[in-house]
Symmetry: C2
Subunit: 120 residues, 2 copies
DNA sequence: CCTACATATGAACATATATTCATATATTAA
DNA sequence: TTAATATATGAATATATGTTCATATGTAGG
């Protein structure tokens, strides 16, 4: 994505002052990259349903699979991604593993999204 | 994803009361699907950068391409997705098209995400 | 030890998606 | 009209990603 990029507009439409201002105020790329990763993790139907379920109640892997009609494997794989994104935490009780939302911040972000969707 | 799904756990680990409670409180699938789409649209580095830029200032397509060092085509394609998700709006002034965040709700969702990322 | 069971994970496959390239559309000016 | 320019878009390609299948890991009980 760094080479083929042809000549963008001539000059007429460019607004140097705006660009300067924007350049200054931009968040660092590294932070934006992590933000994109966070949203990407949230951006899947299966994962959204899992998070919704966990926002109601702590559940074990089997509960989630049964509730959402998914295979145990599929759920496990998705939980791994959610764990990596620090969106869920877990505790083990014998062979059973219970998952829950990691913190209220996740809940807030999630419900904020719900509100947005409801309004459209 | 509806057939191979093997036998989930036997019964020992299932929590019927929890499942009932969760089933009742779950948002409708259609809403969760739209939420996933929303997050998916937000979940891309290029689009996140575009939104960040627009959260600072209204910009034309050329401005965005120059600011983020992207081809005009790539920017246009992404703006199409952002438009479809109602995350940005635009106004035309001659041949120049200016884009801006669609509303404060988007801004809130976006900054909320930034906060989350900053804290980790 | 061995068996059963809950969960995790690697590989393969099928699908989705982001960018590039080429080209189309729309607007202004001559 | 024709030329120039800003933006949009279709097709192709390369990469990413979600699910399945098979299997591994970890834990409890006999």
């Amino acid at each position: 994505m760094e080479k083929g990029k042809q000549a963008v507009c001539q000059t007429h439409c460019l607004h140097p002052e705006k660009l300067d201002k924007a350049r200054e105020a931009m968040e660092p790329d590294e932070r934006l990259a992590r933000l994109a990763e966070l949203f990407k993790t949230l951006g899947d139907f299966t994962r959204v349903r899992i998070l919704q379920a966990l926002s109601i109640e702590e559940l074990c892997v089997c509960d989630i699979a049964a509730l959402l009609d998914l295979s145990q494997s599929a759920v496990s794989h998705q939980l791994r991604l959610l764990r990596a994104a620090q969106l869920v935490r877990y505790r083990k009780e014998g062979k059973i593993v219970y998952y829950a939302l990691d913190d209220d911040h996740v809940y807030t972000l999630f419900t904020q999204g719900i509100e947005h969707v409801k309004e459209k």
